[in-house]
């Protein structure tokens, strides 16, 4: 009976998850265009090439910078906002809604809006800089500033979600703990760092894992904001895999890259659980 009840779930995951992963691994063993055209069996050659490919290394490193940067800033700012808005702040429901709003809109809209704001020649951000007498910036068109700008846009979009989850978690911490700390003479900063932050560790773990996985796989931001440019400064791993598969038609190689990323994400998630997965009891 138990297996019968599990069957729909097993069937769903088999068709939509395990089967595609198996097909991807199979395709990664071929050179050329498996699935659509001519291909030759190459064994693990694609994996060997990937591990020595300078472009892959570059893409992976900037993806790591992007994922860690976006995750850390999203969580820090989200926690800060939650700490303020979990308390009795006037119009806090409205403020929360405004901050959360970017999270529910499509990245296509976000990208169009930010590209317009950041346009070096017609964008409002540079107009503000000019008004303030400051030099204008090529936000997305200078290799050194493109990746930080992309991280900032992603943080702006995601921070509302982190804030909301943190608010729920903060409101779940028993009030008695704060009262006891106050009676013992703890200052607000000590209460935040010694009680709130440690007790939020399971929430932080959840947000860190979900955010890292999502950012390591992110293709929307580089595809829509910069198309990986300028000079490959924002060519994140997923975009590199996409271009390898759909533009260069190297489908076997792209499958190997994709499978490698799958293994890397598993490893990073395991490390996150080891570092942040502490038991919390109160």
């Amino acid at each position: 009976m138990a297996y019968a009840l599990l069957l729909p779930g097993i069937a769903y995951f088999t068709v939509y998850f395990f089967y595609p992963i198996a097909v991807e691994f199979w395709a990664s063993l071929f050179r050329g265009q498996p699935l659509i055209g001519h291909a030759q069996f190459a064994g693990l050659a694609n994996y060997v090439v990937a591990l020595t490919d300078a472009t892959v290394r570059h893409s992976f490193l900037i993806t790591l910078v992007y994922a860690v940067g976006t995750t850390v800033f999203t969580l820090l700012i989200g926690l800060g906002l939650a700490a303020i808005l979990a308390g009795p702040v006037r119009a806090n429901a409205l403020i929360r809604a405004i901050i959360f709003f970017p999270y529910i809109i499509s990245f296509v809209i976000v990208a169009l809006m930010w590209k317009s704001l950041l346009d070096p020649y017609t964008g409002i951000l540079n107009s503000v800089l000019i008004t303030l007498g400051l030099p204008t910036q090529n936000w997305l068109s200078t290799p050194s500033s493109a990746l930080p700008t992309m991280i900032a846009v992603s943080v702006w979009k995601d921070v509302g979600y982190a804030m909301l989850i943190y608010i729920a978690a903060i409101q779940g911490i028993p009030e008695q703990l704060y009262e006891a700390a106050s009676i013992d003479g703890a200052k607000p900063r000590q209460i935040f760092t010694r009680i709130t932050v440690p007790l939020l560790m399971p929430t932080t773990l959840f947000l860190a894992v979900v955010s890292m996985i999502s950012n390591l796989q992110d293709m929307s931001a580089p595809f829509l904001l910069t198309n990986g440019g300028p000079a490959n400064a924002t060519r994140l791993f997923s975009l590199h895999v996409y271009e390898t598969a759909f533009v260069q038609l190297e489908i076997g190689y792209a499958s190997a890259l994709s499978f490698l990323m799958f293994l890397i994400i598993l490893l990073i998630t395991f490390i996150q659980f080891k570092l942040l997965g502490r038991e919390v009891a109160y």
Partner: protein, 412 residues
């Protein structure tokens, strides 16, 4: 449930099957570029449906990168559209993979009547062939050339557009004032080909199977553009992205005096700023006068369900009558020789000016595409151009590095 209800239900099911069966409703799926969804083509589809009762044309419009993604996925699952427009290069690429239907039998049957291939510009035919077989039919034939703001040039004291690189640089510097730029370059690599060609660069040598974009001429051409941006401050850094419309928008807003573009930007300029005084100039000359040819072709996937009907629709799209209607309304240039000779085309200033560039426009990527490694080589060239333009790296050093990598890819 009553017997009467069951009888009624059964009659309804049988009736529906009979009606559906007799109508033979069929759908012809066509992939098209969103920017080319002209009224002339909508009318062709409308007429096609009227002439073929029971047939509906599902006209799906995409940006090129999105269409390619969807098409590759379609090929993978064997569920392809019936007719596809492509931006150049895909015909040979997919034909080599056995994914396209050879059109020889159709052309043998209908070629004389429709004028194919004799009425098409020669290179627009050869760029759609693989191993002497036809796999595509050109529908648009374009080239990019110099487009300039006549008022801004006149303000700076120039009565005529530049004709050489030296004159171009002089005009670009003189018109760069008050937040305006003399020239707005494009982030898309293909827009750098006119500069390379004008300096006599050969992209690919099929005899040695090597690329030639590491030559001193290629370095000089890209360094020229880079210096306009970084040294002369006469051009802005292109805004990074796959969007090729940035320079056109600056030009339309009167913030760039000159751009390099083709007929695809005519409608956006005219509608974006009807009061703008602008003109089209012949392509520049350095060692030679040259520019790049491009354009759209139509192809039928091998797995298409309705190949014969797709061919019928294709013939209507490329008829002289449709070409004239689409080009006169939208400024798009076409591949038929009889189109170029038509009095209405010759009397149209925009079409005439863009059309004159076709005489010296070149499509030299066709031979590289036959290697099956064109996309990887073009990706390397894109990275090299980006390094030179955005990072202001020395052109010769960068081009040598990336050409060596491209030659390694070609030798694999």
């Amino acid at each position: 449930m009553s017997v009467r209800f069951m009888r009624g239900f059964a009659a309804a099911v049988v009736g529906t099957l009979l009606v559906g069966g007799s109508a033979h409703a069929q759908t012809l799926t066509v992939y098209w570029n969103a920017g080319h969804a002209y009224d002339a083509y909508a009318k062709v589809i409308e007429q096609f449906e009227a002439d073929n009762p029971g047939w509906t044309v599902q006209w799906e419009r995409f940006q090129w990168p999105d269409m390619r993604t969807k098409l590759v996925a379609d090929f993978a699952v064997g569920n392809t559209p019936d007719l596809v427009a492509e931006p150049g290069g895909w015909v040979q690429e997919f034909a080599q993979q056995g994914l396209l239907e050879p059109l020889d039998a159709y052309i043998e049957a209908d070629g004389a009547e429709m004028g194919y291939p004799d009425d098409w510009q020669d290179f627009s035919v050869s760029r759609n062939m693989v191993d002497d077989a036809y796999y595509g039919v050109q529908i648009h034939l374009t080239c990019a050339t110099l487009v300039y703001n006549t008022d801004l040039l006149a303000e700076a004291g120039f009565d005529a557009p530049p004709t050489t690189w030296e004159e171009f640089r002089e005009v670009a510097i003189a018109t760069s004032t008050n937040g305006r730029f003399g020239f707005a370059p494009n982030p898309v690599t293909s827009y750098y080909w006119p500069w390379l060609f004008q300096n006599g660069v050969e992209y690919y040598d099929p005899e040695t199977n090597t690329v030639g974009f590491d030559s001193p001429e290629a370095a000089e051409a890209l360094q020229f553009v880079s210096d306009l941006i970084h040294d002369d401050k006469a051009a802005p850094l292109p805004v990074a992205g796959a969007d090729y419309e940035g320079p056109q928008k600056l030009f339309t807003a009167g913030r760039a005096a000159m751009i390099i573009t083709g007929p695809w930007d005519v409608a956006p300029i005219q509608t974006g700023n009807p009061n703008l005084n602008w003109a089209i100039a012949p392509s520049l000359t350095n060692k030679t006068q040259a520019t790049q040819a491009g354009g759209v072709s139509l192809m039928i996937p091998a797995a298409a369900e309705h190949k014969d009907m797709a061919w019928e629709l294709l013939k209507r799209f490329v008829s002289l009558e449709t070409e004239l209607e689409a080009s006169l309304a939208n400024g798009m240039t076409m591949p038929r020789k009889s189109w170029a000779e038509h009095p209405d085309v010759q009397a149209n200033e925009i079409l005439g000016n863009f059309g004159q560039c076709l005489a010296y426009a070149r499509d030299i990527t066709a031979e590289l595409r036959l290697t099956g490694k064109s996309a990887r080589v073009e990706e390397l060239l894109k990275t090299a151009v980006d390094e030179i333009i955005y990072n202001d790296r020395p052109a010769q050093e960068i081009l040598s590095q990336y050409a060596a990598e491209a030659n390694r890819v070609l030798a694999e």
